[in-house]
Symmetry: C2
Subunit: 211 residues, 2 copies
């Protein structure tokens, strides 16, 4: 299955600004992208990067450069590709650093004209599209919006329930999940940056040794 | 499968104190318990409540009253029950208001001497135990601790990946998940209490109309 991986190279992970410098955030975002691409490949998917600009170092996969916002860029690919049952397209966000080949394999195998993976907070972290007329809108409560727009084109919707895929790495609390459940480049990056789990009165957070 | 549902009737949901009065938190906690018991029954499980005190109104299931802290109370049941492959025991937290019969059915069917459902933040939201010597310790990073203690008694561990079951309803951000994904008594309770989704610059939170 072709798997589109949208990536924004422009000021990535700004919600982690209290914790990391701009250069560090860029480096962490790239580590997460590498983890996602590896997991997609491991699950038998064919990744195609949809990036706001060419990456340096480049990735070893096809790249479409589109500087437009996420929704417009993904919809341009959907319009051009016209996914079908026999030629589906998946869309997997580049910050799903907890994605593994087994969970992505189950996702790619899930039935449905549109398979939606909700992210924590009402977002859409991944999709499998098997119908030509479905379009995305990533703004706000996109999970509910995508259910509605799939219904509007008479697409059968499946919701895919996964903590790994619901966890996009966006804010400080998400780093806890990455340290507990991750074992890829992004988790290594965090550990090398001195970020560790921090338990305070039974609640788990993260701290940074050199901060 | 017998399913132990631990419930603390003493000052429940204190992390939601900024949002709800003590009476409201008690009422919300009871709604969530009712949702969990219904989901367990719907999945073919036999719930047994493990409560710090008798409930009013009572629940329509067997109740064990144990006023000790969670870990001691659950371990007392494990020691008495001595779960096995043919006579397993599940432990499902009472605040998993997003639990549904299908996801619990998949959990009960998952292989493993010890099946662990991680909660967001390193906790353990549910377990299936099929070995007599495994004991729990819910303090702190219990997910990692439970993996270790299962390995220490040579139990085969399975990790069960579910956003619904990873989401214990503990803090304000969890109410977002309940409003988006829930359709039981707790979600009704929230809506009647005037709690609604609130979108601000693309980020989703909750607000309360009468606050």
């Amino acid at each position: 299955m072709e798997v589109l991986v949208p990536f924004s190279a422009d000021r990535p992970k700004s919600r982690l600004a209290e914790f990391f410098s701009p250069d560090e955030r860029e480096s962490l975002a790239r580590s997460m992208l590498d983890d996602v691409l590896r997991a997609v490949t491991g699950a038998g998917g064919d990744p195609r990067l949809l990036s706001t600009e060419q990456l340096d170092p480049p990735v070893d996969h096809p790249v479409t450069v589109d500087s437009r916002p996420l929704t417009a860029a993904v919809n341009a690919v959907l319009a051009e590709r016209e996914p079908t049952e026999s030629d589906p397209l998946a869309v997997v966000m580049a910050d799903l650093a907890l994605a593994t080949p087994p969970v992505l394999g189950r996702l790619f195998d899930a039935d449905g004209d549109v398979v939606i993976v909700p992210g924590r907070g009402g977002g859409t972290n991944a999709l499998v599209v098997r119908t030509p007329s479905f379009r995305v809108d990533y703004h706000g409560l996109s999970y509910l919006d995508h259910r509605e727009s799939a219904a509007a084109v008479d697409a059968a919707v499946t919701v895919f329930d996964s903590h790994r895929l619901a966890t996009d790495i966006d804010e400080r609390a998400d780093l806890v999940e990455l340290l507990i459940h991750g074992d890829g480049a992004a988790t290594d990056w965090l550990r090398e940056a001195g970020v560790t789990l921090d338990i305070d009165e039974g609640r788990v957070g993260v701290g940074r040794s050199d901060n």
